[in-house]
Point group: D2
Chain length 390, copies 4
């Protein structure tokens, strides 16, 4: 033991709860690992499944005392909000259609919420949540996880600073192959959650992949969509929801765009790629090689910027944990969202006020925009892929 | 000298003429070099420019006797058709709006024609040429040059044989960056030819790059377009014709598609990429890495097929000149079109009849389809990017 | 709270201590984050720096009670070994020259050790540690972190199963650029640690990057080196230790190899690449794209295997946390080493015995091999890059 | 016909002869196509095979009159040198062991020579040819074809101008897979020519691929090799000559290097890659993507230079035929060597003197250096892979 005059202030470590994330669920476990990474929060309560025995099993594996494992989210919201050591925030990783009710239950009891995208499946629900956030003043984050990527944060600032000029065109695609086969009939929990309207809402590929595209382009460029012309395809016979979609767009600065989502694109794992073109140059980012950023300016050589090697803007750089060439991936990106969100909660606990950079996370308003986007695309497609104004 | 009982039959070497391809023109010289490569034809006559002195200069450099250099294409057609040693075929490399008149002048005088794309700028002209070809029975080729690529020929047969299943979706893009600046005001002959409606017709990027996309998808898949929804953008202020375009499509087998053409996409040289998705797999081809073909089938590892290394179908392989890893490029692709076309002319001269593989070149019918595509896209865009049936 | 008849067994969560990993140290923090990821262990004690005040500061930030922060590793070993709640294992992330003494101090007091590579800087020390591990029977891991990569584990099994035939040639390189400039004179703690013989031992690039290469090739192929011919270059004037090196090798099965390490290779971040060639095929792995594995077999198309997409061997697959296309990186690779190591410690605590797969971590014997490799390379180079037998 | 006062000067078109390049030979046909491309020379005489009937067949296909088809190269040299319309230069594309005699026969009769690499298989022969070139003053070119690549010419000037600083390290590799199997026993003419010492001389992979590496590094950097340590491996049992080799080198400026040649490297077609590292930056060139050049300078973003897009030095640019993104490949590279060589012959015919840039082709001195390199590598390997001074 060191004899020290320095006061050793224990590190602040928040407590969080989770609804969803039971056995077989992919995204719940990802959230827990991302939260573990920086050690800023630990799980303290949960309702991981509609089957209480599954919740107990998961809770045990996570070391949660049985008294904080709940059969329903309503009970959890009720009980947790009364505890002295209540959770500092809730994480929602359930199917889309239940996001709204769960978020409302916790928000209305004074607990900050982190919610998977899309925020809701109906516009009125999304708007109600936004109003509730405004009313309560509670921090609320929608986990558009790719917006946490270091390289994206640098690209955003590049664009804001005018490095590629005025944005003129956006081409964003997100192809996958996993629903080329009827995985939903083969027992895949993921596939059922995405393709069954009772769980997914009105859209499948547009609701999942389209949400990521819409939020990413909005985060990077700050542009607002003014109209869409969307065709939601049901490529596999019998599918009720889209498994492929093409969307033409117009933005408020006059720029144009094209989005493509697909779950039937052979050879693609998770190939989220965004290209933003401006009057002076363009950026090209690919999620599967997300430690690098293509930057091409007219009249200059094409460059590949490398996280850690090239001097990123300080705000972006602050989200990087390891040196260049040592890949950071999906966990780190989500951990970055949490780093900011938890950092803000801690500041608030300490009675401080938050600056703009303190709140660099996907807000409830971005969540509302996402739901609006999905709903307008569905409307356009149902009317025959016609143009719909926002 | 070898004493030989073998009869030495002199190699057949055809004569061709060219209209267009004067000083500063890119594509005319490419045609001449591609024709040189295999040594199957030599240039014998020309009208390279509207300025006779330029024609004389080019003709001299090419070693053409002055008597076969012409001030106008009409004179050339007239004179050449009367010679005993007349040209075996004509190559047209002029701006789009003159293709029709030139092609008609030579066809109607019995001379086979090779014409740059698009075949014409008006549907009625394209149809008149097709009728003339039918009537005369003369070979006629539209130089959709990328369809000559060895890897594309292999991909086509892969698709025909069902290796990727039934085609469900096509994503084809052709971005360039060269018209991000007003090159047409800086004296670029290429840029003027593309952006001035008097030379280019009704479309710029769709007429040039869109032609390549449409013919490539058609050649690879055999699908017919049934409707389009096209938005032709004029990104640079003051442009009369499109410099960027997005097109949603439907095909006769129920498949869907999306095409993107751009000349304002920073960082892109000539990035023609075609991805065809089917119920079993997908192909991915990129013109800038055209010796390789991505082939991904569901449930199998992703593969990169290499021209020369992997066993290509015999027809495709017959177009390859050098071993794997020794890149063949743009010249070889165009030379392949000529190889087939000239091979057919030689067979016809020898009184033989042509089989299907002998005629594996882009036909006048493909040319008509191309003009129709452009015209329907222009119509769709002018009406507000609405759906237009074919 | 759920009424449950199921017994909720609290999850086992081990306690670890760390020597090294103070402010400015890269690798210590990486270990802590990797250990956090799966939540299997928490930090309980530390001696993070030779400066006690720095240890206090780091310890406070990590939430360690002051009584378990130590001024020296000797004191820490002494005190911790006496506690009832003593650490379950120690992590050593100090400069190379101190690994031996620290490891010995804890091992000899019955505490399992995880040690950064290289195991030691002198052969006799390495061998003493190996003997101590044998004598005590304590688990001991050297963190050759890339051997934890999922794709590497699959590649290893591919090779073991004969998919590429008998190994004939190995080409392994590990270039970086960060020491192209005299970073050690600009205050970089990392650079000083690598280039100063008092901290690094007899080798710089060979000790750091060469260690990774040697252990990786050994892990993948199981081959033993029989002789080396090494040239250790000091490219930057004034460097005492190598910043670039080329090594020719022979293996016990008759195969040959070539290794290259560099810290002066402009454009390279951390480009660890290993290519193993056999009589039937070859694998190609690149650390910066480590979710994919190139596999080429003669007579078959080249393939790119994707973690999560392609069916990996079950043992390899068990180390993957997220779906294909969602990148796992450096943290996950190191976390995989810990996952196995901690899993084994837990089993031992529960009185179980360990099977072969339970011990799939880099052993002290691999550590000894690594020190031997470095020492033979140094000897070869000092004698004029001559062949040295093992 | 155009009425013109301009004097139409017929284009100069040289005549060449060829020894080698009979049926089944790869490289002879490549030379003919490369010579065709720009139309600067036409084939006028030949001795294509040791079998006169094969020569007759090839000659007929090429349209050569029978009187200029020869049974032996000696007869050809004798007869051609006496003709008024004699060939302007000879092209040698025979197996390595015959290069010397053929070159000497034509040179000594006043005919300029283009010879495939390696120049000879014995040092004394190579030196005799160099002396003969000096004595006669005749142009002589060794077709190290990759040195004709536009991007390489730009890279060379980059290095000369100091853009990457002083060269410190070179890593050059040239792996292929085609001799992983015993192609020489399966009737491959190429394989027999490479693996039979009677045709190939003392080395196989080092003689073929090593020649390319040595000449490329020399051309790019201007460095002279001072010593080598080479290990020539015979991986396939029964091979008399090397099918894989590793070579460590030192250069006259103190820089170090490593070369690797292989014909047993699964997955590699023709993957010639050269990386030159300097005190400020590095270049990276890959023959299979040879329209692009990687350029990385310390402290600046990594760039990809694109032929045609980025402003190349004027001399390099003068060798480019088509716009960026339209791939130029192997034929164009060889055509570039001929373009310079023929251009020089024409100038000499016109009585002009040649400047330095007029002679930018691989000289007989480069050919001698190549033979010396091979011979020193063979010597080093035979002595146990020891260091051999130059």
């Amino acid at each position: 033991m060191i004899e020290s005059s320095a006061e050793v202030k224990p590190a602040v470590r928040l407590r969080y709860g989770m609804v969803g994330g039971g056995p077989g669920a992919f995204i719940g476990d990802v959230h827990r690992k991302a939260l573990n990474l920086d050690g800023m929060a630990e799980i303290a309560a949960g309702c991981f499944s509609q089957d209480p025995q599954k919740t107990v099993a998961v809770g045990a594996a996570l070391g949660i005392p049985q008294e904080r494992l709940y059969a329903t989210f309503e009970e959890m919201a009720e009980q947790e909000s009364k505890r002295a050591d209540k959770i500092d925030f809730l994480v929602i990783t359930t199917p889309n259609t239940s996001h709204f009710s769960i978020a409302r239950a916790f928000l209305s009891r004074g607990i900050p919420v982190v919610c998977e995208k899309p925020l809701a499946t109906e516009m009125k629900d999304a708007e109600e949540l936004a109003a509730l956030v405004k009313k309560t003043g509670l921090p609320f984050m929608v986990t558009y996880n790719y917006t946490g990527n270091v390289t994206i944060k640098h690209a955003r600032e590049l664009i804001q600073k005018g490095e590629i000029g005025k944005v003129t065109f956006v081409n964003c695609e997100y192809p996958q192959e996993w629903l080329m086969v009827e995985a939903e009939k083969q027992g895949s929990k993921q596939a059922i959650t995405r393709t069954d309207p009772k769980l997914a809402g009105h859209a499948n590929s547009v609701g999942d992949l389209g949400s990521h595209i819409e939020s990413m382009v909005s985060y990077l460029t700050g542009l607002k969509i003014t109209s869409v012309c969307a065709r939601l395809d049901k490529i596999l016979p019998g599918r009720v929801l889209d498994d492929n979609a093409t969307i033409m767009l117009e933005y408020d600065n006059g720029a144009k765009g094209i989005y493509w989502t697909s779950q039937i694109a052979a050879g693609y794992d998770n190939a989220f790629r965004v290209r933003v073109f401006g009057t002076r140059g363009a950026i090209d980012w690919n999620e599967e090689e997300s430690n690098y950023l293509g930057l091409s300016c007219y009249g200059k050589p094409k460059t590949i910027l490398s996280r850690g090697r090239d001097p990123f803007y300080p705000h972006a750089q602050s989200y990087s944990r390891i040196p260049s060439g040592h890949p950071e991936g999906y966990h780190e990106s989500l951990a970055n969202l949490y780093k900011t969100f938890i950092g803000a909660l801690v500041k608030l606990k300490e009675g401080k006020t938050l600056g703009a950079e303190d709140q660099d996370w996907p807000t409830v308003e971005m969540g509302v925009d996402g739901v609006k986007f999905i709903s307008k695309c569905v409307e356009s497609s149902e009317k025959g892929a016609v143009w719909i104004k926002f």
